[in-house]
Amino acid sequence: MDDQTNEHEPKVKIKIENVFKIFGKHPERARKMLADGVSKDEILKKTGQVVGVADASFDVYDGETLVVMGLSGSGKSTLLRCVNRLIEPTYGRITVDGVDVVEMDTIELRELRRKKFGMVFQSFALFPHKTVVQNVEFGLEVQGIDAEVRRDKATRALDLVGLGGWGEYYPDNLSGGMKQRVGLARALAAEPDVLLMDEAFSALDPLIRTDMQDELLSLETQVKKTILFITHDLDEALKMGDRIVLMKDGGIEQIGTAEEILGKPASDYVARFVENVDITKVLTASDVMKKPTFVAFLRDGPRTALRRMRDAGLSGIYVVRQNHELVGYLSAERAAEAVKKEEKWIDHLIDGDDVPTAALDAPIRQIFPLVADAKMPVGVVDEKNILRGVIVRGSVLGALAERGEYND
């Protein structure tokens, strides 16, 4: 990422700097050839060295979900395993909360793995000889935590993933989706800061997979975690990621938000990668909306409403009732007039009829025309008409619009 400075610069949780992983006895040769721009295939042919990760650098911010995406063999798993050193990086620096991971000795590393990381695996990696709850408490068990305490925590983690009551079963008795919930519970049980998820949902059936994605998204709101999420699936990346890292042949092609990747592909490779995906079918209003951080309440005066708009730099604001039920939209113009006339209430100023709204699960294809026509953001409401989010132009839709995908 560019080092653009603004006051909202998020805290860096994991910093990855010039990390290489080269499998083979002569990594220095491969590294030199990489620097000269020789391709991974060529290097393998000439030197027998396999390039796993080539000069990866990026930050993972505290609390974000960063998706690492790329085709099979692009080095995603290797990169992820460098972070908790299941694989030793050949070169480079990785810091977690400012502490160098590569320099750690065995004991420090073990402590790091116990306290900071929870890992979820593609084929679940549940221990077949342990019950569900014993699996979940594994991380706590190796920490030597008291049996009662850890059983307690494990049970709570199971409740969190919707598997309360399944603790005494063996993994063999569970379906794929349930197994991965156990995997997730095991990763959460020790309350780590970071979840490392390696294609965690790739082995699941499409329907179950969507369920699990939604579940993880809702979990994120309950337990704030930094998530490093790996997938080879662009749809999943767009849905899950606050930001996306796109890898190719061990190197990083592009880092950015979904909008940036879709709207401004950094290379032909990325452009080709994203062009085949019909995101309009995948994403719903809830995927692209932003939290309605600034709203006015019905009983606010025009002055308050106007101040809110100014603070947020908006030319209008959604007005809601106390329970966030949507009432309508108030433009800055009208609010300013009312202030001038020293009016006390805003209810008669609110535009309630022409307000564009969409349901949470509306496919974004339906939202294109709304966004294109409306002079205000589109409000996203749930079945009780509670305002849950807003969609502004310049988000994913803007990106898609640039690609001309809404012209049908």
């Binding site: 084929s123 990696a125 221990f127 000889h129 991380g139 190796v142 063999d172 008795n173 379906s175 989706g177």
Partner: protein, 299 residues
């Protein structure tokens, strides 16, 4: 040829080397010999002290618990037949030798197997040795034991242990090495120590394979203990040996059948120990539970 080149005095050299090492090691071998022969005698005396009918009941009950009704019936009938044939004491003596040999073989074999699983260099060192050992005919193992421990049960146990140890090592190594790499990664990722990983993950998951190795070790022990009658191990093998020397085919058959029965009982029981213990699963009420969750993909 023998005229031109004098015969190499290999036998003399080996004798010399052996007599040197046996003298050198004699304090050690004498100690081992003392412990073992006391152990064997104690065990045989103890087991013979139990009245046969009680022994049969205990053995059948244990077989039932471990391997089910069929095996229990087999064990009971088989041992009653052996008792009836007047081979009770030789059977107990053979059983004792097998159990002691197996105990020693497993006590040495498992750690070696674990070491070979965790250490590539030790693995490539020990693998050709194990391969070689399994190509040798059984009675070859008898020869080196005699100079150290003389004729008798101790030598029999020593050669039996060496003969029967390869599967215990090999299958322990195999069982640990074939564990899914993701499970090992999971164990590491949650911060287990090498020892925790071994005890909480690797050994339990490898247990069925390890027990298959133990089963093979027991069966090899039994065959070796019978052959070791040639160096005075006694027991059922001794009965067979004596019958052969006196050309009494009938008596030889009786003892042979007793060996087969013992083999079958030991095999059936130990096969079950490893396989049966895994996953005592609660399948019965899995169906009731599925209502509590949104899962619809129950396979």
């Amino acid at each position: 040829m023998t005229d031109l080149i004098p015969q190499i005095p290999l036998a003399a050299w080996i004798d010399a080397a052996l007599s040197f090492t046996t003298t050198l090691l004699s304090p050690l071998t004498r100690a081992v010999s003392g412990v073992l022969s006391t152990g064997i005698r104690g065990m045989v005396d103890g087991l013979v002290f139990i009245p046969p009918w009680l022994f049969v009941i205990i053995a059948a009950a244990a077989a039932w618990k471990i391997a089910g009704r069929k095996v229990a019936i087999l064990a009971a009938l088989g041992m009653l037949l052996i008792w009836n044939l007047g081979l009770w004491r030789p059977m107990i003596s053979t059983l004792s030798l097998v159990l002691i040999s197996t105990l020693i073989a497993v006590a040495i074999g498992l750690p070696l197997g674990i070491l070979a699983a965790l250490n590539d260099r030790f693995f490539s060192f020990i693998r050709p040795i194990l391969d070689f050992m399994q190509t040798l005919p059984a009675f070859v193992y008898l020869i080196p034991a005699i100079p150290f421990f003389g004729l008798g049960a101790v030598s029999a146990i020593m050669s039996t242990v060496i003969f029967s140890i390869p599967p215990a090592i090999r299958l322990t190594t195999l069982g640990i090495r074939q564990i899914d790499a993701e499970l090992i990664e999971a164990s590491d990722a949650f911060g287990s120590t090498t020892m925790q990983k071994l005890i909480k993950v690797q050994i339990p998951i490898a247990t069925p394979t390890i027990m298959a190795g133990v089963n093979q070790t027991i069966m090899l022990s039994l065959s070796m203990v019978v052959i070791a009658a040639m160096i005075g191990a006694g027991g059922l093998g001794g009965e067979v040996w004596r019958a052969i020397q006196r050309l009494r085919a009938g008596a030889g058959f009786e003892a042979g059948i007793a060996v087969v029965i013992l083999a079958m009982i030991l095999d059936r029981i130990t096969q079950k120990i490893g396989a049966g213990r895994q996953r005592s699963v609660v399948t019965g009420d899995a169906d009731e539970k599925s209502d509590d969750t949104s899962e619809t993909d129950a396979a």
